[in-house]
Symmetry: C2
Subunit: 336 residues, 2 copies
């Protein structure tokens, strides 16, 4: 063994110990799914600022589209559309993934092209098909609003207001958007009456059929990229190619980030192309295409019943009041 091997092994052992300590792996009962931890807010001021930015449509060219337009926190952190509506009613290329529990994902976007929430937050603002603004215009706009300037200064302790502070604040808010206390989590924690017999059968089938191979961990997904259409090819008009568009590796064509199943009852329609309207359809398609398994109607219903136990407490907060534009603020011109 080379002299580099030993330290690497030590690191590996430490990582496992750390995972055990955080409860991400439950050695006790060895369930492949673990409860969602409650949000830990370390900087409430940053979270409040990020909440305002998340709801502020002035970060779009039109003054009409905010982060919340497509990641609507009244609707499971999604827009419940096949693909989203962007600037000038452009048709989005892909289904809007939920922002709920997204801090638990290994990377952001369906193809994982953003390494974290901060990097993700800058994407839609500058995407010509989404909010269609630029980072410079967004910063100019915020700088023209005295209440924002004061709030940024208070939160960050300096006068610099760049897209870095903007996306940091949005990410800090998004990190609080977790949904603990799902009935299934109560069951995981020992409340055996939290789910009923059908829901438990669904979970057992979910495990024994292999769904759990990809949909595991606290977020039941979000930790790996997998090919859509593994056993049988997936037929879609959607041109998204997934992971290969990021890595340039042809072997990763049609590999997408495994979506979380948390709150899946609220985040219809399903798949990267939004083609499945209902959980029944989604379970059927996943069984056939990913596992080579045709679930009976009863089995399908059991799994759907289990999936509905994954709806947790939705983020509860007061609708933010946005600071008004000043006379210097450039007004949006949505029709130009």
């Amino acid at each position: 063994m080379s002299r580099f091997t030993a330290p690497r092994l030590v690191l590996g052992a430490l990582s496992v110990a750390a995972l055990l300590a955080t409860g991400a792996v439950q050695a006790k009962d060895a369930e492949p799914v673990s409860p969602i931890p409650a949000a830990k807010v370390t900087n409430p001021g940053k979270v409040e600022l990020g909440k305002k930015l998340f709801f502020d449509p002035r970060l779009s060219r039109s003054g009409f589209i905010s982060c919340n337009s497509c990641h609507n926190l009244s609707m499971g952190g999604s827009d419940n559309l096949k693909t989203s509506i962007g600037d000038k009613w452009q048709k989005g290329p892909i289904n809007s993934p939920t922002v709920l529990n997204s801090s638990l994902n290994v990377a952001q976007f369906w193809d994982g092209r953003a390494k974290d929430l901060k990097e993700q937050a800058g994407g839609p603002i500058a995407n010509p098909g989404e909010m269609a603004f630029t980072h410079d215009l967004a910063v100019d706009l915020l700088t023209s609003i005295p209440q924002y300037v004061a709030e940024f200064k208070k939160v960050f302790g300096h006068d610099k207001l760049t897209i870095d502070e903007v996306t940091q604040a949005i990410a800090a808010f998004e990190e609080t958007l977790v949904t603990p206390n799902a009935r299934f989590d109560k069951w995981l924690k020992g409340d055996k009456k939290a789910i009923n017999a059908q829901e438990l059968r669904g979970y057992q089938l979910f495990k024994s059929s292999g769904c759990v191979a990809c949909h595991n961990g606290p977020n039941l997904g979000g930790t790996s990229f997998q090919k859509m259409g593994l056993v049988e090819a997936y037929k879609t008009d959607n041109p998204a190619e997934g992971r290969s568009a990021v890595t340039g590796n042809d072997a990763e064509r049609f590999n997408f980030k495994v979506p979380t199943l948390r709150n899946v009852e609220l985040t219809y329609p399903y798949f990267h192309d939004g083609a499945a309207d209902t959980l029944t359809q989604a379970v059927d398609t996943m069984g056939r295409l990913q596992l080579g398994k045709k679930f009976t109607p009863e089995e399908n219903a059991d799994i759907v019943a289990f999936l509905k136990t994954l709806t947790g407490d939705q983020p509860k907060f007061t609708l933010p009041i946005l600071p008004p534009s000043s006379d210097k603020t450039k007004r949006p011109q949505p029709f130009e």
Copy 2:
């Protein structure tokens, strides 16, 4: 005098007494403006249901536009756009009036074509240029969502779910959207330090110049229709003709409902065509066109300072979580 005169006089006297009793007229200090009363919630369940409906984009054809899109409660109950964005990004015909304190208006819409909030609420849902749905489709949609069905039943005590119940609930929520405790209201109630010397000068000028002839009462407006361009013609590309389009009376051409000045700091841009970006512009134009008066920069600044004392407590509530669609719910097809 005819035999019909006497009862009419009696009614008139009763009405004045009623106004005095409600505090709408403050006989004591004879100010032409009175404080905004706090909201009285008599049916909290109906208000909660109305709040959900107000935030629910499924009441639009696209599944993307809710009441809150154009009457954004994060932004003074308006969209801060010249004219609103409707279905498929259609350009709206007129500036979106604030929903805040709108229960105090004599009628709804700029031309007063809806007699109250309930009648107003049905308008945008079915307007092909706005939410582009129909009342029947809205009712079908809500009827397909079990949680909504149960909530309507609980609130109204019967199984009937028609557009009448829908608009009643939305109106009940909107009636709570009042903004008491503005600094100016504190001054009106006797706290003489609540506004400063410049703001007081502005109010005195606002009264002595005649602004108050139209912008009076608790809402500083909303109680009458007036011609836009009284002394001097108003030049605009906007084709709206105002009150005459409702009454057919040519003498009422370009008569619009006098907008409230409550929270006017938040509800830019101004006028029915949204042509004035700033309060400074709006005060200048109003002075010249409605009063034949050219305010000096100092006078204008004083009035603007006064107007900014009219920002009250914004409605504070938890963002509603919407009940999920069921398998039977028709999915929106925004691009078709």
